[in-house]
Amino acid sequence: MSASKLVSVLLLIVLINISNNGVDAFHKIFKKLQSQSTSLDSVSPLHRTAYHFQPPRHWINDPNAPMLYKGIYHLFYQYNPKGAVWGNIVWAHSVSKDLINWEALEPAIYPSKWFDINGTWSGSSTHVPGKGPVILYTGITENQTQIQNYAIPQDLSDPYLKTWIKPDDNPIVKPDHGENGSAFRDPTTAWFNKKDGYWRMLVGSKKKHRGIAYMYKSRDFKKWVKTKRPIHSRKKTGMWECPDFFPVSVTDKKNGLDFSYDGPNAKHVLKVSLDLTRYEYYTLGKYDTKKDRYRPDGNTPDGWDGLRFDYGNFYASKTFFDDKKKRRILWGWANESDTVEDDTLKGWAGVQLIPRTILLDYSGKQLVFWPIEEIESLRGKNVQMTNQKMEMGQRFEVQGITPAQVDVDVTFNVGSLEKAEKFDASFTTKPLELCNLKGSNVTGGVGPFGLITLATSDLEEYTPVFFRVFKDASTNKPKVLMCSDAKPSSLKTDTGSDAKQRMYKPSFAGFVDVDLADGKISLRSLIDHSVVESFGAKGKTVITSRVYPTKAVGEKAHLFVFNNGSQPVTVESLNAWNMQKPLKMNQGAK
């Protein structure tokens, strides 16, 4: 352990001893569920992130009820205070002034009443004029039914909103006989319709294999009735978890819109998380407030092949409207892809990805995402590379920074597209299959080129993030594949004969909708020990990977740019910054 890390651990131990009042509030409330709790001083630093949102230990999953209140950002999240697997879930709570430094507070919501005695699962917050922020969340009852409840702050004058109360007139919504009580959860932020005076919100569900988002409306935020029709559903998609429904501006390319916006020049986004596939998809469309219907515009698939916020390890995402800076901000969770034993040993599992802003792309056909600008405040030493031509098979090291903890932003110029391989739609149109067939060391015409992250100097371990350009004869336009490939990321493997039982090192991929008219394409990666978050073409395609190198760690990790295509590619400009650790990252969390 390096000296600075030793100091951090010692500081942590000191802080814990000061702040721990020794009371484990959950002892009496939870049933005797087994746990493998990790003591704080035995959390391993290996693979832990430096600047991503995490508590000091244990399991986390869905981000809940993100919001801005009295100038302070809040994030709640699903948390297991007793171990590094899912279970015993409570709403942990953190606050921040800048979305970068986070202070842990006491858990805000945990099982305590009949309507949530078996679980306090995901939900959202809504700013209700006259009431303040109201949280809607899923509670699990004694007989394992999923129902929706509300919670309100005990003290609205407390900007930290430390304490929440759950009034006895809960639940607000129970599944009716048409609804599946084991698949009925994740209430959204509500939006207000000025014309009829009703709030509306959604709850995720399914009927057999049809994913559904039921809609409920209320005048007073207490009595809710189901609307005649769900806002949307889709056959053969499976359970819809964590629905999110919000407007984006067609004309304003800088700012987001509030959930209740109902003016002109807007499209709506409906996103759902797919229980069956563990990824999400969204559609863009029109929300007719008079008829209370959402209709996708049909330009992108409405189903498993739909557009995604992130084509990698990214789930249970949730947006909120930052009223101060007029942004729509997206939170998403990435789980671990090592083994549970690894998680138990290291003492933690799960991270929240860096918050991203969401805007509608200039084309109007998709959304674009970008890390919040506040993340740039962590940038330290900067190194640059300009006009570095890369012939086939070449790679150049980015030196002078710490590759395991870095923000790198690069613009490539491919010059001519003449040498691009033909896009043969007959063998596959699925980006993931293409990426599996043609990895980073399969040569090509234009590409593969990109970054080699978290690498040993001789590429025994490495995680490439790269583009491969195809020529689509049917459109005469380039088809650009972006791939983030964990297959070579770690020497660690197990010897299970069944592929399902080996350590999970997936490739992730998505197409990037760019025409490369000027030959340029950009790639930005936020690299943080076991997370690689990559943004292609300024956020048109985003892919997050989790990796666990055994040798390419800490000071032994390297970062390269590379080209394995016959067309020379130039690194027009590359900027890499060391990323510092935030001063506050949930130290003292239970």
């Binding site: 569920l33 087994q34 746990s35 493998q36 171990g83 590094a84 697997v85 899912w86 279970g87 078996n118 679980g119 699962w121 699990i140 394992q144 999923q146 009580g181 084991s182 698949a183 499976g238 359970m239 229980d275 069956l276 563990r278 083994t339 549970v340 034993e341 138990t344 040993l345 197990d494 010897t495 299970g496 004969s497 069944d498 399902k500 039982q501 080996r502 350590m503």
Partner: protein
């Protein structure tokens, strides 16, 4: 006129047909008195119980091997850790998740049971005294996973 009676098979048989090992699935579920009246969740929970039982059995076997095969101490230590994870993390997670209607976390736990068994087996580098037990775990994990998938 000839009347032909076609038997559709019990729920156990119908469910097990959709798993990678029909015979194993049927024999495990039939051996449990709850099997004949269980729904899909119930069948999944029965198999998770079997995983739990096999884990305990394997841990006992591991403990016994320390004396008989002291040269294997390192690999046995690894296996002990792995199987304790199945018992203390994977099984409780799977039971809670399936009972409460978030089968995806149940799937995680069940898959991991197979993975932990694989890693344990791999530690002996081909000379494992636990092969039949770890192989059992992998097989049961695969069958259980297929049934949990049906709940998603």
């Amino acid at each position: 006129m000839v009347t032909v009676m076609v038997s559709e098979g019990s729920i156990i048989e119908q469910t097990c047909k959709e798993t990678p090992d029909f015979n194993l699935c049927v024999s495990l579920l039939n051996s449990d008195p709850r099997g004949s009246s269980a729904d899909t969740s119930g069948l999944a929970l029965i198999l998770i119980d079997k995983i739990k039982g096999l884990t305990t059995k394997t841990l006992n076997e591991i403990n016994g091997l320390y004396k008989k095969r002291p040269e294997l101490k390192r690999a046995l230590d690894e296996c002990s850790r792995r199987y304790k994870t199945i018992l203390n993390a994977d099984v409780p997670e799977a039971i809670e998740a399936i009972s409460k209607g978030v089968p995806k976390f149940g799937e995680d736990g069940v898959i991991d049971a197979g993975v932990e068994a694989s890693v344990c087996e791999g530690g002996f580098k081909g000379k494992s005294p636990l092969t039949s037990l770890t192989k059992s775990m992998q097989k049961i994990s695969n069958v259980t996973r297929a049934i949990v998938r049906m709940l998603l």
